[in-house]
Amino acid sequence: MAGRGRGHRTFSVEIVGIGKGESLPPSSVQPTPLFPPLDQKPVPLQTGEEAEYMLALKQEFRGAMKTLPFYIRPAAPKKDVERYSDKYQKIETSDNSLEWKPDWRRFPKELRVREKRPLRDPEKSKVPKQTKQPRVNKEEIIRKLETLEQKEEEGSSDEEEGQKKKPEEEEAEGEEEYDEEEFEDETDYIMSYFDNGEEFGGDSDENIDEAVY
């Protein structure tokens, strides 16, 4: 349709209004500038009591939403190495329960996340939860370790262990505590309060020529 014949120009530019010999605007060879200068400046914003009140409402609403439990923050990123101080720092509650109580009758059943019990009582063997395999395993591991330790330590530091285990069980990740329990010796001192100074002066073996401040 563009003209099969040689030399025949079927589309005459005059139709669209561009006369012969008239200069067209120069073709652009680069993308348009990011902030092109405006010929017409924009009209100023509406001001007045109503506009200001709505502005204040908007900002307050936004601030309020951030404090409500509907604002979901992603789980804290896992640190590269377990830090000693993690145990005493208040980590954000990464537990899986919602902080607000929806009316579950109006929600599909599958969205319901079972809440964790605040105190995991190891005597209650069958906890009716939507079983996640690791959790069941954790309880079994707790029980096994406890029975083993009780046998080893012959009840000498039983009370201490009991007290220590309760706060440890409340934490979401149990793996760290198990490692510590395995490594502790038979002492009267509570291992968690002991700092064996491994992190201090670790560079003393290297480069003695460098001045130490």
Binding site: I18, V43, Q46, L57, K58, L68, E99, E110, L111, V113
Partner: protein, 537 residues
């Protein structure tokens, strides 16, 4: 869903509910309908976070769920209601309207329900009474009954409605028949429920409690959410009826247009007519029910001081006006008049389009645009003649409008082969597609505004945190009664250039926020026009 709409939805979800909900929501919008497992798998988020996000979205009415394609036996499928997400832009306007109609109590009721998504009447009343009591001088407190009466008024005028019940009843308390979940593609309309606006009988007496400073913030939250004492309305949740608010905004727009075009008295007459037909007119009707002049005269408030013959004159003026706000449909009862809702909305949309062209391209381009709107199809030569603009400039303006897609080119061939020398090229403007184009531009604008605001906040994060800490220190010092010298010392921790920077940052953010509010007004107008046109076809 266009790309701009998806982007805006994502930004709004992120602002109000955080990044996790944004990721879940955006993915669900893009995919249409998904079940839980697929959603968790595709977003690569932990299952619990996905469940939490969906709970939040369902609570706020932005996500609906139902039996999926495999029927009731298959997994539940979820879909996002994008219109609901866009309503979040308009929340300040809803709250302000409630304040102007029902005072501070109404304002707080609507604000609480918007924040929580759905609430029972008793918990709303308690929360609002506590908040009002908090602001009252010492010794006074807000009685529950006052809040209940304002709540009832809001329900009677249909600004609040009950949340639609689910067809599936897992609980025994409601005693409903165990029917399968409705199909996800057909959400139950809240209006279909016969008890939609019926107030429950609750026995709730008491007064708002003043929050003591020693009370823990958490304890308050628990009290809000664990309404253990059953007030008799368990399971009945209320939500904001956005459609009713939109009808109110539409009426306001029409009334202000009439008062601008004609005068105050005619706008009062139109306001009366609209008020009378509030309950009788369905939502997307093209015009209201016919009202006789006698009825209008009786319904006019005496404060307007309009005599009967004056009213007739005003009505005939309104009918003869080229904007066609009011139409005459008969002569009985002194003349039967209707308000032409659809035509009014079309005129308002047209005025918006013309205004946009004028502010963007200048008044002469706006003249060409108006000309094309009125005369439909014009040739190049005719445009120059009718607009009285020299040929070269007219050409330039036309091409600029054409490149922005505000004006279209229509080819009318004289011969079966579309030979250009024997074809008419006509310029034309179609109002509906142009309105849609501008609506998408508005969505893009709001997205840009939000992103710029987030960028500004992020750039100055350090400074903002510092100022927040200093304010906290100042507040605690003042609470413990420190001397003025200490206070000034703390205040001076922010240097003067930092203070200036903070001030300019605040100014920028305020400007961006007000711009969002204003663009939202345009979005509302254009969207109403588009919906009204679609409904009338």
């Amino acid at each position: 869903m266009t790309a701009q709409e998806v982007r805006l939805c994502g930004l709004l979800l992120q602002e109000h509910f955080g990044n996790v909900v944004e990721k879940v929501g955006t993915h669900l919008i893009r995919s249409g309908v998904l079940n839980l497992r697929a959603l968790a798998h595709e977003t690569k988020l932990p299952l619990d976070l996905v469940k939490k996000s969906l709970c939040v979205l369902v609570q706020h009415g932005m996500c609906t769920f139902g039996a999926g394609r495999r029927g009731p036996a298959g997994p539940v499928e979820y879909r996002i209601n994008c219109e609901h997400v866009f309503h979040m832009l308009r929340y300040p306007r809803y709250i302000y309207t409630a304040k102007s109609l029902y005072g501070d109590t109404g304002e707080l009721i609507v604000e609480e329900i918007l924040q929580r998504g759905q609430m029972t009447m008793s918990s709303t009343v308690k929360t609002v009474a506590d908040r009002l009591t908090h602001n009252m001088p010492e010794g006074q407190s807000m009685d529950y009954s006052e809040v209940v009466s304002v709540f009832s008024q809001l329900v009677e005028t249909h600004f609040l409605q009950r949340c639609p019940p689910l067809a599936s009843a897992g609980s025994s308390s409601s005693g409903a028949v165990d029917t399968p979940l409705p199909v996800a593609t057909q959400p139950t309309e809240p209006e279909n429920h016969p008890d939609c606006y019926k107030l429950p009988y609750i026995n709730l007496t008491g007064q708002g409690k003043r929050r003591r400073s020693s009370e823990d913030g958490e304890a308050d939250q628990l009290r809000y959410y664990d309404c253990d004492d059953d007030c008799g309305d368990d399971g009945i949740y209320w939500q904001v009826n956005f459609q009713r608010f939109h009808l109110h905004f539409r009426d306001q727009a029409i009334i202000s247009a009439v008062s601008c075009k004609l005068d105050q008295s005619s706008s009062e007459i139109v306001r009366t007519m609209l008020r009378m037909s509030e309950v009788t007119t369905p939502a997307h009707a093209a015009f209201t029910q016919a009202l006789s002049a006698n009825e209008i005269f009786r319904a006019l408030l005496s404060s307007y001081n309009i005599a009967r013959p004056i009213l007739d004159q005003y009505l005939s003026l309104l009918v003869d006006d080229p904007m066609e706000f009011v139409g005459k449909t008969g002569d009985s009862g002194g003349g039967m008049y209707v308000v032409n809702l659809h035509r009014a909305l079309a005129n308002l949309a047209r005025a918006t389009l013309e205004s946009v062209v004028q502010e963007r391209f200048g008044s002469r381009s706006a003249r060409i645009f108006r000309l094309l709107l009125r005369k439909r199809h014009l040739e190049q030569k005719q445009v120059e003649d009718f607009a009285m603009i020299p040929a070269k400039e007219a050409k330039d303006m036309l091409y600029k409008l054409l490149s922005e897609n505000l004006v279209q080119l229509q080819e009318i061939p004289k011969t079966p082969d579309y030979a250009p020398s024997r074809t008419f090229y006509l310029y034309t403007v179609n109002q509906l597609p142009t309105a849609r184009l501008l609506l998408q531009n508005c969505y893009k604008t709001v997205g840009n505004l939000i992103e710029r605001r987030l960028y500004e906040t992020k750039e100055n994060k350090r400074l903002l945190e510092k100022s927040q800490r200093i304010e906290a220190i100042l507040a605690s010092l003042q609470a413990t009664g420190a001397e003025a010298a200490q206070l000034t010392e703390v205040e001076e921790m922010i240097t003067v250039p930092e203070r200036q920077q903070l001030e300019s940052l605040r100014h920028h953010i305020n400007k961006l926020d007000s711009s969002e509010n204003q663009v939202d007004e345009t979005i509302f107008l254009l969207k109403s026009y588009i919906n009204s046109t679609q409904a009338s076809h």
